[in-house]
Symmetry: C2
Subunit: 360 residues, 2 copies
């Protein structure tokens, strides 16, 4: 169905129909000039927003719309968790070019709704409009956090331990694989079309016969790229273990870049150990295949959506016992700089080569 | 300066530099994973968001970036006032194509900052990224409102008076004038280029000599289109006069469309009088020039950003005494339908022909 048939209000109604409100603080969701949210006893409001543009942040030739919707929510929830907060509401704005159908938006929204269900979040508003080219997705997430528990980037102290959740570099390797397969596929299309022209046969049929790429043994990397999961579980485990988080940030632009944010805002230095950076086996295999240094991928590859945080030295035993959390180094005086200790014991200055959407 | 020279974080820092925090509830603005906002005693949080796309919502051939920034904030603040709330914070996300320079973004931001200053609003976050084509601006506004004062669309009751602020149709006529002048200018460029080619002279020089359009007598219409002002003053006057607002909406898609939202959500009908719809003299003159019915412009032209609201019949004297507020009709039983009474006393069914960004 063409989107113009429903119109803006019709489309919003269609997509947000039958969504149950999950949070008692959501007093008014979609349908008025504003959403209305009740304050929660003693809690502060935290807000984050992300704007995702087709051709810059995602490529629909390999990214299913359902996954894209899911990911668009996750990147925002990840920021809420990175403050040690709990997400409650999101607004979803979409700019849609004419090539999309109502069914496409249903797919996108199914991913958005799944993400919201898993994280107990209400869709409370948004804006739906057209775009001249491509798809734009702007999501704002609203959450709550207790004043004394909020983890800023600025609270790291000398001797604090530097911890990361999960493993790093996998989403980046997933992207490399998808980009490579896309290039291979495009080449195959060119060749099939040329061959069909020579044979006087149908190009469409020749293209339809191009085999699907084989992603066996790389499933985890693709999932990390296409369906990241915000680390609610880590924040909950730290709370249960009564660990004081002194600073926290989510890893969206690469470990180096994020750690430098913490050091700059906390006015401190750091020492991290290459051998301690958590890596998945598939990441290591793929890095070798692409002739890349796996540590470089882990340090500078983006979109991991893991948590990077610091805790007091005294919490060592407690955090080390938490599954999927790894201590990778410690905070130092600012004057000692930001150091990476390589596997052979050499010391390097940490540099942020994180993904910069405004460069190149 | 090219934006790539600064990078994402550099650009954000550059643009949000030296902004004073105006609200005590803004605990953390730009610079962390989330903004942090303190709850205000007894007040609820209200949230609205708008996504503006180049080529759909604005045309940079005649819209100065500074005005665009101002307007992008205003359309959001207008929604906050339409709930009878007070805006406190905004987040600003921008997607920027390569043709923009740092200076362009400074211009855009100067308008954003001016709007924030006038309405006492803090910029607390956002996202800055690149776009393949054009400019995208996504703003989310956050405000507060007392529970018992929030004006929903659903509270209108039979016999309530229907009121509007300011006058209607001017922004729409402003747009018609700008579009006409753009078409005239484009034609002049074609002719000047052709003439220069024939004469063997410089096309650039010929284009530079095209006279500026004469907007004398139409300044108000252009201002209404390019620099709308959210009606904070009306909300304040109503509060001072102790008027109970039973329902409210801001007029962004045309009076008809907005009044129908109120009627549908309040499950009521309405009767409004054509002769009572407030019009500016310039709007009437321009409508005649364009051979349009001025009432149709006022009923269906968008982007007025005036307030449409209902008050109890008993408030008649009080609202009628407020400058720039006009009673245009009253609320009826749902079964009586939505009626427009024309100047000659004929009755028409109200139809929403409001601007639909997803149609055509």
């Amino acid at each position: 169905m063409e989107i113009a048939e429903l119109g803006e209000f019709g489309l919003i109604k269609h997509l947000t129909n039958n969504i149950d409100i999950k949070n008692s603080s959501t007093l008014k969701a979609v349908g008025d000039d504003c959403a209305v949210i009740a304050p929660e006893q003693e809690l502060q409001t935290i807000v984050t927003t992300d704007l995702l543009m087709e051709g810059v942040h995602f490529d629909l030739t390999y990214m299913p719309l359902r996954h894209l919707g899911y990911k668009a929510v996750m990147v925002n929830l990840s920021d809420i968790y990175a403050m040690n907060g709990t997400p409650r509401q999101i607004t979803v704005s979409l700019a849609i070019s004419k090539r999309f159908l109502v069914e496409d938006m249903e797919e996108l929204y199914s991913g958005i709704r799944l993400a919201c269900e898993r994280h107990n979040v209400d869709i409370v508003g948004g804006d739906t409009t057209s775009s001249m080219t491509g798809l734009a997705i702007s999501i704002t997430a609203i959450g709550v956090a207790a004043k004394e528990e909020i983890a800023y980037r600025s609270g790291a102290q000398e001797t604090d331990l530097i911890c990361v959740s999960g493993n790093l570099g996998a989403a980046y390797m997933g992207l490399q694989i998808l980009e490579r397969e896309k290039a291979v596929y495009n080449q195959q299309v060119i060749e099939a079309t040329e061959q069909a022209r020579k044979n006087g046969t149908s190009a469409e049929e020749a293209i339809a016969q191009i085999p699907q790429p084989d992603f066996a043994g790389k499933e985890y990397l693709l999932e990390r790229q296409m369906k990241p999961e915000a680390r609610k579980d880590i924040v909950e485990k730290l709370r249960q273990a009564n660990v004081k988080i002194t600073s926290m940030i989510d890893i969206s632009d690469g470990l180096s870049s994020e750690l430098m944010h913490i050091c700059e805002q906390s006015r401190c230095g750091c020492r991290i150990y290459e051998e301690r950076i958590p890596l998945d086996y598939q990441t290591a295999v793929a890095a070798e295949e692409f002739n890349m240094n796996v540590s470089t991928c882990a340090l500078n590859g983006g979109e991991d959506y893991e948590l990077l945080f610091t805790v007091p030295l005294t919490a060592n035993d407690v955090v080390s016992a938490i599954e999927d959390v790894k201590v990778i180094g410690y905070i130092t005086k600012e004057s000692l700089g930001k150091a990476l200790i390589s596997r052979d014991g050499s010391e390097f200055e940490l540099k942020a080569q994180g993904w910069n959407p405004l460069k190149d």
